[in-house]
Amino acid sequence: MIRYTEDHEWIDLDGDTGTVGISPHAIEQLGDIVFVELPEVGSEVAKGDAVAVFESVKAASDIYSPAAGEIVEVNEAMLDDLTSITPDRATESWLFKIRVADKSELDDMMDEAAYNAMIG
């Protein structure tokens, strides 16, 4: 099940490994993406750490890790064409995969219905 943070990240857990991206709503709000910084594979991060950056024409936005763990893979392919990062491609535009240290950290995150209610 996909879960969402209040900062518009999503995490899709498969076993111990979560795939992390940002919501279609967040992509739409950012507008044209002109630069993306991904975390380093192998780095250990805490829940809430700023681990990636989206830069739009107007502003820079930090992406926070929804859970503690180790970064095991990043989506290098997305960097080849930043114009492919569009609201309808939020799933394909995942940022990184993380081996989640404590899956219970995800328990209080929003499901899709709750997230959609939050963004109105």
Partner: protein
Amino acid sequence: MENRRTPLYDFHIAHGARMVPFAGWDMPVQYPAGIKAEHLACRAGAALFDVSHMAQVELSGAGADAMIERLTPTAMDLVKDGRVRYSLFLNETGGVLDDLMIARFEDSLHLVVNAGRATHDIAHLQANLSGDDVTMTVHDERALLALQGPMAAAVLSDLGADLTGFTFMNIKRFSLAGIDCVVTRSGYTGEDGFEISVANDVAIDLASLLAARDDVFLAGLGARDTLRLEAGLPLWGHELDETINPVEAGVSFALSKRRREAADFPGADKILADWQDGPSRQLVGLRPVGGRPVRDGTELMLDGELVGRVTSGGFAPSLDAPAALGLVAAAAAISGTMLLAATRGKETAVEVVGLPLVPHRYVRN
């Protein structure tokens, strides 16, 4: 307090604009096409902007010229009937209170000032009215549209405007598809283009007529900002403020020769010293190396020394690269100099380059 709305508010909503608060107004930052597409459409064709948030102020009466000369470095005899000039409200220390356009038209002076400074500027003008034969009228009943880009002239011609002899920095009354408009050939994009003053009650008619055309693209404040950044045009609060003088900001062309020789404008001592000896710091273009933009306020280092800061930073769609403007020490303000910007915990190398970043394409005499 509720933000003010321009007469085009419903038009923006109908066209899917994302509205943001700006200087006390609800303004479209972008339409669904997005900032990059809107920007490129302006460089390639014609883009329509709502700039009704800027204040249109009319000064009439025999004392209007003298009053403006007390507040700015402009020689008003140069502002001939039907002409427009760029000017600056200066303070006594040579700083810039605001930049503005001054047009002489139908026996009055017509000023356009920044939205974010309108309250200040109107109070500043009001405070200087006393003792002069000057009447000030703030034209809240008029909207302002900007049609900018290399195809803008063809669009206006198509709407019935005879543009013969109507070149850059002229002002004239036109009937556009039957709508009475006061038009200047000027803008804030570096492109040829027009700013069109029109009564609020017909502004949406004109905007709708333009927007319905295949050769006109809607553009928001986001694209307006990236266009002016590439054109190296200053934005008050960034490249200009009460502590930055016109020579430092690269707008010394606004210092008229007679006024320089008479040294009779506010802050003349400080400004003219910089004009003669060269300023200690200067506005430059900046090209970050790699794809990461540098943002406003970022400090700039040369050989470990702080030499300046970014005043406006972002992305330049026409260059397909990040770009910025910055105020840097004279020693660092030499094209080709590499500076270091500390951006969000990482250092980004930035190259000092000349302005504009993208050449102006004004249609002059």
